[in-house]
Amino acid sequence: MLELAVSAGVMVSCLVGTFQFGYTFYAYNQLVTAVGNGARYAAQRTYRAASEQDIERGNAAIRNMVVYGDAQPEPASAPVLPKLTPEQVNVHWELAGDGAPRSVNISIKGYTLDAIYRSFTFDGRPSVEFPYVGKYAPTEREP
């Protein structure tokens, strides 16, 4: 009986740890995929820069692509991970002297994953950079 109690404690601890790390790795992999897809999308979409609002609208579409897998998601769309919001996606453009984008960096900031027994916070990673290969439209407005 005593042996069962001791070994059960060890086994349960191992299984809990396995679940925690397994789920966290799964979630991180989902984030890497989402950030990569968002960065690919951002790198190829038209950069409309008629005003700051247009740039922000474009960034919002990129954030939606990361979180929902869709630049214009339905209101009931579910995020790729629980409680992931567009505000937790950082979009940073590296611009040339004339305002044309050179590259785009997408990263996750302050996302806390609840792995039931413990939570993990991802801040600054995953982070992905792509060269900008889309069309620069300094006078166009976001539709």
Binding site: M11, C14, L15, G17, T18, F19, F21, G22, F25, Y26, Y28, N29, V32, T33, G36, A39, R40, A43, Q44, N105, R125, P126, S127, V128, E129, F130, P131, V133
Partner: protein, 138 residues
């Protein structure tokens, strides 16, 4: 007891080691995609364009192994037709494709090797991008 421990390590290894392998594979593929696009973007039919392509790949900030390690041993090749690849191409004006391979991503295996698994797992990645327009083709 030893059978139980073997099974336990196998389960832990599946979750921990394979989880890391899948993440590394994903990170490597994203790096290869971004790097091949960066290289293709620089091709302009000149030797300077080739140099810029190599510099652009070397400057990519993307990392692997949970975003902690820089990619090493990266191979950059160029092609006019997407079939014959060359690291030192001769006919520069005809180049239309850049291919980036990240071959040296060795994930150290921690648990599975205790039950007969490999010491490390290599997760290479490769991507091809075309010029004009710069797009991923593979």
């Amino acid at each position: 007891m030893s059978v139980c421990m073997f099974l336990l390590l196998a389960v832990v290894g599946m979750a921990f080691d394979l989880g890391r392998v899948y993440i590394a594979r994903n990170e490597a593929q994203i790096f290869a995609d971004a790097a091949s696009m960066a290289a293709a973007q620089q091709l302009d039919g000149t030797a300077a364009g080739i140099d810029r392509a190599r510099a652009a790949v070397a400057a990519m900030p993307n990392r692997w192994n949970l975003a902690t390690k820089k990619f090493s041993g990266v191979v950059i090749e160029f092609s006019a037709d997407g079939e014959q690849w060359d690291q030192q191409p001769k006919n520069l004006a005809a180049l239309r494709f850049a291919r980036v391979t990240a071959p040296d991503n060795h994930v150290e295996i921690m648990f599975l090797r205790a039950v007969g698994g490999p010491q490390e797992f290599t997760v290479p990645a490769r991507a091809v991008a075309s010029t004009k327009p710069v797009r991923l083709t593979q």
